[in-house]
Symmetry: C5
């Protein structure tokens, strides 16, 4: 999984039936030490009630469909956790306020 920050959202009316009611968020992958943007943003489906500004864990590929909410849906990215803290090399690089 990757670590990303939720930075926005996408609105789509004309979409695949199975996407109805899903929250389409824009996630910006971040470096796990500096928390700075690192890589291209993605559209990801929220499965945990997360929102803009939060640091989250994002799963990709077929595994994005392994939640009750996303089963059998045409999505390849899902937010599966809000991150409380990250520790790298014995130092806390992130702690949710």
């Amino acid at each position: 999984m990757i670590v990303a920050k939720i930075v926005g959202n996408v609105v789509s009316t004309n979409k695949a039936d199975r996407l109805t009611g899903k929250k389409l968020l824009v996630v910006q992958p971040v470096d796990m030490v500096s928390l700075e943007p690192d890589g291209k943003p993605l559209v990801s489906i929220d499965t945990v009630g997360s929102g803009v500004g939060e640091i989250v864990m994002v799963v990709g590929g077929s595994s994005a469909r392994q939640t009750e909410l996303t089963k059998d849906t045409p999505i390849d990215s899902a937010i599966v956790g809000v991150i409380d803290s990250i520790e790298i090399d014995g130092k806390e690089t992130f702690h949710k306020r």
Copy 2:
């Protein structure tokens, strides 16, 4: 999912049986802020009645097969939504005209 612009199409007569009747579009991934091209174009299957010039949401991998139209087909990219608007960092970066 990624955000892309539909820029063209591909014609193929001699193709896998299960691709018969599918609309083969060329999608150019775009930056979600500038909407400028960003990355290599792909051939993607339309599942929502989209057309050239539209900004769409594209799903990749096995999840591209998770729609009625694309089930069990040999495709790894599908257009699953026409985007109405994108908001990043509190600003609307795209709004469909």
Copy 3:
């Protein structure tokens, strides 16, 4: 899917049982406008009777197994269409001779 040119083939006698009788072609991804090489070549399984020199559509990942010929086989790339023509931004960038 990506667009590629068939540039060669691979011979393998000692291979997985399920690959017996499969045609192992080398495909070179190409730019959809210039048709020039763009990216690394792959070994791909022909499913449509294609041959060296043709411009084809190549599918990757688990979807490469979604044809009669490739079902349950250990392959991650398959040629699923011979391309007749490509149109980008209203111009025909390729037309099969």
Copy 4:
């Protein structure tokens, strides 16, 4: 699979139900000869009782779900082995102490 070093961990309280009780480790991919960092770190699920500082084998994609612990879970990366030694070109590049 890739070779990586476990460098930290992530804490997430609000996460997908099926992730409950899973150990979320941060793995840094390393070069197999120099053992120096090579590539971006990932959040990966431990399935073998591994810990910080160990050199491990990491599997990605749907295959990360092919263990008793990770079956049907929304994860795309799992630690599936602690590495004892690596031999490249006839030389041992790593030996666990």
Copy 5:
């Protein structure tokens, strides 16, 4: 599939149950014309009795599980063929000795 040279192996005692008895080889992807290293090495499971020094065909992702030996195992890379010869643009770039 990609073409790679087997350059070494990995030893892991503490690993996922389903990996017991599997041969963990290190494969170095190579350019199909020059046969020079091109890309990062991977740990791959041998399914055809291959060994160090051989040029092989490597499959990735879920398809790596589509052999008798690798079914339901947590692996994302498998060696599925020993290559006898490669022909690109009408020239033989590799022939097994």
